[in-house]
């Protein structure tokens, strides 16, 4: 019965810039179910945030060209009227951004800013009703003394408290999907832990789906059920979280997991690295975009060079990988990489 509440199919987004066309997202498809957390990981410029923006149809400026479909509860947000999109934004899907200071307006009280989000979708709500909803929301996100803090301004709050306000704004309309774009990157570890806990607690209460965009594999391991690994605008691996960490199936994932320094490291040694740097999204390499950095690249006459690998299920695992290596090779190398 748990049908996906969000289906993204063949999403492509490109931007025209003076330097050329930037292919930010290339043929991305995925589903999200209610009550589940999907983690999207990747390095800067891998297309994570643009993908998230498309789900809210925020990229539709003059420079962005978007194709594919994003279906939320039966409505394709990419191909509906602006009014329909506006009704979905904020009420069905809401977003939490990285930097809580720039996400809040310094000139308005936090109470006003949360109330504003509520009133947009509840135009007939009375003042006292709105105030009550906002105070409830402040309590829910763990702001002590909400009656007093209602009339305070963002600068009177600490970073973690501000992020709680941003979450309150996002959740005041009880959305079915929460997109959190690096929600804890600007915060200290102890505060990060508080905010992640809060998000999971609210998820249990409301059964909303969370899309968590992050570059931190530790955060993904702690909170997500499913993970997309993105590279150069494509999904290179889609996996259940345990599967990603126990038997990763893409050379990029191998590199990424090897490059993470860990707390319980007994001997200091060389960290494994991925050589080179991510490609420019203006001139993505032919075939597999990861091939210039891949240790398994098979040369110019191979599929790696000439054919874009499709995402396929790897036999026996709950993961899909976009790599030209055979299932057998992927499973064997993946295992050895985790063990070493």
């Amino acid at each position: 019965m748990n049908l996906p509440i969000l289906s993204v199919r063949h999403l492509c987004v490109s931007f025209t810039t003076p330097d050329g066309v930037v292919h930010a997202v290339n043929d991305v498809s995925f589903d999200v179910k209610a009550g589940q957390t999907l983690g999207i990981v990747g390095e800067s410029g891998s297309g994570k945030s643009v993908t998230a923006g498309s789900i809210m149809r925020l990229n539709n400026s003059i420079t962005a060209e978007t194709s594919g479909s994003v279906v939320i509860d039966g409505v394709d947000i990419l191909n509906c009227s602006e009014e329909q999109a506006r009704a979905i934004r904020g009420s069905e899907v809401a977003m939490v951004f990285q930097d809580p200071l720039s996400a809040l307006n310094p000139y308005y009280t936090v109470g006003y800013q949360i109330a504003e989000a509520y009133e947009v979708h509840h135009p007939n709500a009375s003042k006292s009703e709105t105030r009550k909803v906002v105070l409830d929301m402040l309590t829910k996100v763990g702001i002590p003394n909400p009656e007093k803090r209602y009339d305070e301004y963002p600068h009177q709050f600490s970073g973690g408290m501000r992020q709680r306000i941003v979450i309150a704004i996002a959740l005041v309309n009880k959305p079915k999907i929460l997109i959190a774009d690096e929600p804890t990157t600007a915060l200290d570890v102890t505060v990060q832990a508080q905010i992640l806990d809060l998000m999971l607690e609210l998820q249990r209460e409301t059964n909303m789906a969370i899309i968590l965009i992050t570059h931190d594999l530790g955060v993904v391991a702690e909170v997500a059920q499913d993970v997309l690994v993105m590279y150069a605008g494509r999904v290179v691996e889609e996996a259940e979280v345990n599967s990603l960490f126990a038997s990763p199936t893409h050379p990029y994932s191998w590199g990424l997991l090897g490059a993470v320094s860990s707390l319980d490291e007994h001997k200091r040694g060389q960290l494994r690295t991925i050589s080179g740097t991510p490609p420019s999204l203006i001139s993505i390499p032919s075939g597999c975009a990861f091939r210039p950095r891949c240790e398994f690249y098979e040369g110019e006459d191979s599929d790696c060079h000439n054919r874009v690998p499709d995402l396929r299920i790897i036999g026996g695992l709950s993961s899909s990988s976009a790599c030209h290596l055979s299932d057998q090779q992927i499973i064997e190398i993946g295992k050895s990489k985790v063990l070493s």
């Binding site: 570890v189 530790g218 490059a259 860990s262 707390l263 960290l271 494994r272 991925i274």
Partner: protein
Amino acid sequence: MSAEFALEGHDLVKYFPSGSSRFLGRPTSNVRAVDGVSFSVRTGSTLGVVGESGCGKSTLARVATRLIEPTSGRVLLDGVDITRASGAELRVARRKIQMIFQDPYSSLNPRHSVGQIIGAPLQVQKISPAQGEKRRVQELMELVGLNPEHYNRYPHEFSGGQRQRIGIARALVLDPSIIVADEPVSALDVSIQAQILNLLEGLQRDLGLSYVFIAHDLSVVRHIADDVAVMYLGKIVETGPADVVYNAPAHPYTKALLSAVPVANPARRGDHERIRLTGDVPSPVDPPSGCRFRTRCWLATDLCAAQEPVLTRDASGRSVACHFPLESV
């Protein structure tokens, strides 16, 4: 390189005046950014300094390199007191101590070529290397993994990781003995972080450098540091060999900090002990009496409010400032 410690700080204090009174705009209070910190970096080793934002780690770096003047306290470089050094004396001392900054975008002048940037310290110090400045710069570019042919390129033509390599080359051009790196990898992606960490470790091995490595990322410090100092609100709360501190933290704050780090292993989700600190770090303008951590500590008693704990060394070589240090298991 004879001294046992490459860099030492004794009772370093840095207050920044803040607020202003109605008369003459005189400062009314002080932000106590660094409040009585002593540390030492063994020659050829790495001291990692960790702590949350606002704990004073960057101020400590700037005081230790004499980029800002300490309010009180002493800085010793290779056993020589440089706290009162000025003019020519300070300039010579600065050859030995160099810095790498966090943001590879704002720490490089966009209008200068890479050659100019890396060579700038030579100009400032009026040093002309035997092999010529250009050759020297190109040697360094090669050493840090840059293509020496890119001598005339500008910072915008490089990626974040390559820019950080430029910053490292600039820090190395004067042949320093100690490098203070303030969050050198936190602006970089994981795969690039690993490249830079490996580079820094390689350089330490080959050139016998000592590092002060400041970071908020505990796992990165774990990887690179021999000794570690944990800061909270302008003070060191625990310091000692990294293995000891990480494996059996004695200060409640260290323990909480370590337990908050997400573990990149979903199989161990929920299986490690989690200490949730409530509340936020108090303001450094008006820190709590006694132990500064007591407002967030689950072990705090009246004693903690009344009396400030002093750093005390235990058998394992670790020092901790706590009235009720955790049992080491």
